[in-house]
């Protein structure tokens, strides 16, 4: 198996912008990352960093005022073929064969993908029949199996339930069942546990982890919660203002963070069990307004390692470190780069 076969998805130079009345929001501004087969990649960042827009770009599900303006999204298949999702017509049949079938997506709010006026069973059966030529009976069996797999009790009876009859955690499970009913190769999960209570969240994270092991699918998990990242990620991409500022394995990221933003982020969270009442480390200021993107490194106005004349002038290029990690920070090189 060649090296490229290990990768399921290769995202290169992705740019997605939102065109608003006030101007253009460069929500995703040159993003590169890979999703290896069978692994979990986390994209972590604060609000406005472009993590959700990145996830939506992969399925070409941007809001009506958004557009994928540049870059490639290469989806590798088992036979060695490659398709570029970025080049597809976002309403064409090509992308529609991928959505839900090869790449499925789950959201923070389950009602984003579930219908309130159809039974849970009907929705899953329809999704299965859309992508596979199977009889209603076969599709129904598959749907029951999917509901059973995600831990919904009495799946046969629950097929006839409407979403309003289910609790928040059960709705989340129903949405995951629908996403998994077509056996996708990649599951994109956009903050799927953020609105849930911790005990329910723990169960859903366990479920996603188990399903991944059983089905061998890849997971791209979008979150702002570093605790969740530590629990489920194999690899992590940290985003800030539309760029991936650091990529690393999960252990390296938590124990040897390189980018000043990653370091500051890790220091600013209260750690359960530390017992410390000392003031927390903070990152000064807040994420800038998207129309006021700083020049040079987007993090420089908040950075403790700010180098005048460099960081405010040069957009840091990705620098590959010895162990294969990647970081966009002039502390690690790239100062010979060009002005923005």
């Amino acid at each position: 198996m060649s090296v490229s076969h290990q990768k399921l998805l290769e995202v290169r130079g992705l740019k997605s912008h939102l065109f608003t009345d006030e101007g253009v929001v460069k929500a995703v501004e040159g993003v590169d990352f890979d999703v290896p087969r069978g692994k979990t990649v986390c994209i972590v960042g604060e609000s406005g960093c472009g993590k959700s827009m990145t996830a939506r770009s992969l399925l070409r599900l941007l809001p009506s005022n958004g557009r994928l303006v540049e870059g490639s999204i290469l989806l590798h298949d088992d036979a060695g073929g490659v398709r570029d999702i970025a080049a597809m017509d976002n309403r064409g049949s090509e992308i529609r064969k991928i959505r839900g079938r090869e790449i499925a997506m789950i959201f923070q709010e389950p009602m984003t993908s579930l219908s309130p006026v159809h039974t849970v069973g009907n929705q899953i059966v329809e999704a299965v029949r859309l992508h596979f030529s199977v009889t209603v009976k076969e599709a129904t069996e598959r749907a029951i199996e999917a509901l059973d797999r995600v831990g919904i009790p009495r799946p046969k009876e629950q097929m006839g339930s409407y979403t309003f009859q289910l609790s928040g955690g059960m709705r989340q499970r129903a949405m995951i069942a629908m996403a998994l009913s077509c056996r996708p190769r990649l599951l994109i999960a956009d903050e799927p546990t953020t609105a849930l209570d911790v005990t329910t969240q723990a169960n859903i994270l366990d479920l996603i982890r188990e399903l991944q092991e059983d089905l061998g699918m890849s997971v791209l998990f979008i979150t702002h919660d570093l605790g969740v990242v530590a629990e489920i990620a194999d690899e992590v991409a940290v985003m800030y203002l539309g760029k991936v500022v650091e990529k690393a394995g999960v252990d390296d990221l938590f124990h040897d963070p390189k980018h000043p933003y990653t370091r500051a982020l890790l220091e600013s969270i209260p750690k359960l069990g530390s017992g410390s009442k000392e003031d927390l480390e903070t990152i000064r200021g807040s994420v800038p307004h998207p129309f006021r993107r700083p020049s040079g490194c987007p993090f420089h106005p908040r950075c403790d390692s700010f180098m005048r004349g460099l960081c405010d002038r040069i957009v840091p290029p990705p620098v590959t470190l010895e162990d294969g990690r990647e970081v966009r920070c002039l502390l690690y090189g790239g100062t010979e780069g060009s002005d923005e």
Partner: protein, 360 residues
């Protein structure tokens, strides 16, 4: 026989009376049906809660959605009229009053002493008013200050919360989420309060901003001798900010203790499960310990199970847990738990990533 009230009745406690003493507080909301609004049942959002809060301390209230923590916070503020119980508050002039029982008229002067900070700075600030008017509003109620004096006071408050006074003429939309939360805090501080109820005050903020606000709340508490009741679902935040923590489940406090005792040595199975479920920002802890996973969902406060409300989900439940309601009792000095078997069970607290000396 007197009702035992969980408080800090140990060496840490000051000899003087607590600032707030809540006894057997109940807040039941009627469920109405039909054309005539017949009452068919009650949601027992707060169902017999007792605790004390000492002056200058922070009491954390944690629990999952629907546990009644927000209703409890609001009932303390008399946003609702409690169904039963006492909320004894020692006012600035030393009088002890029962907030649960006061008329709106008599309550009004006390509203200056007890203030609230809300979760969502987006919706709790009126977008049509400039910051100056928002912050000055509670002051105008008293009607004694001149325009000039109001401006000066607003400027001082903004400085106190780390905002530039020049920004007072801007409208809320011109501020970031963290700055808006600072405005909400400035408004709460305007009347020089003694007790602040913070309801999920940092939950909507980004992590980098959350740390700033937590530090600000800690500094204000030291400088102004504030007492906090800090309502939150986030156990890491609650551990960081609280001196003592009360864990709620279906309208009741099921455990109350000093923060380090509660997190290291929980005495109630629900607390143990909560602590186990929090994702820890340490990948090396993965798979090291057996996780406790609760089955089922939080009980419906309109139809709580008989006996211990936690028994259907409790991995240690025994026969009498289905029938006997456990009382909140002092299972260790200053450590209260509502479980029949606290003494027998060996429950697991949070694993310490690094050993650190106790700071309090």
């Amino acid at each position: 026989m007197t009702v035992q009230v969980p408080g800090a009745s140990d060496a840490h406690a000051r000899p003087k009376d607590p600032l707030l003493e809540v006894r057997d507080l109940k807040m039941h909301f009627p469920i109405r049906r039909g054309v005539f609004g017949r009452i068919v049942g009650y949601v027992k959002a707060v169902d017999g809660v007792s605790f004390e809060v000492n002056e200058g301390e922070t009491l954390g209230l944690v629990g999952e959605s629907g546990c009644g923590k927000t209703t409890l916070g609001r009932t303390l503020m008399r946003v609702y009229d409690p169904t039963a119980g006492e909320i004894r508050y020692r006012s600035r002039d030393g009088r002890a009053v029962d907030l649960a029982d006061l008329t709106r008229q008599r309550l009004k002067p006390l509203r200056r002493e007890i203030r609230m900070v809300f979760q969502d700075p987006q919706s709790s600030l009126n977008p049509r008013f400039p910051v100056r008017d928002i912050v000055a509003e509670p002051l105008k109620m008293s009607g004694r200050l001149s325009r000039r004096a109001l401006d000066d006071r607003v400027a001082e408050l903004l400085r106190q919360v780390g905002l530039r006074p020049e920004t007072m003429h801007r409208y809320p939309h011109a501020f970031s989420g963290g700055e808006r939360q600072r405005i909400g805090i400035a408004r709460a501080l305007a009347t020089d309060p003694r007790l602040v109820v913070a309801d999920e005050a940092v939950s909507a903020l980004d992590v980098s901003v959350q740390a700033q606000i937590l530090n600000l709340l800690a500094r204000l508490q030291r400088d102004l001798v504030l007492t906090y009741v800090f309502v939150s679902h986030d156990l890491s935040v609650v551990e960081h900010i609280s001196d003592r923590v009360a864990v709620m489940y279906v309208g009741r406090i099921i455990e109350l203790a000093h923060t380090s005792a509660l997190f290291r040595d929980p005495q109630h199975p629900y607390t143990e499960a909560l602590l186990s479920a929090v994702p820890k920002p340490e990948p090396r802890l993965r798979g090291r310990t057996e996780r406790i996973r609760l089955r089922g969902e939080v009980a419906d406060p309109a139809d709580p199970p008989p006996g211990c409300p936690f028994h259907p989900r409790c991995p240690y439940a025994r026969e009498n847990c289905r029938t006997d309601v456990p009382a909140l009792r002092e299972v260790r000095p200053a450590h209260w738990a509502a479980c029949h078997y606290s003494e027998e069970l060996e429950l697991r607290g949070v694993e310490m990533p690094t050993v650190q000396p106790e700071t309090r």
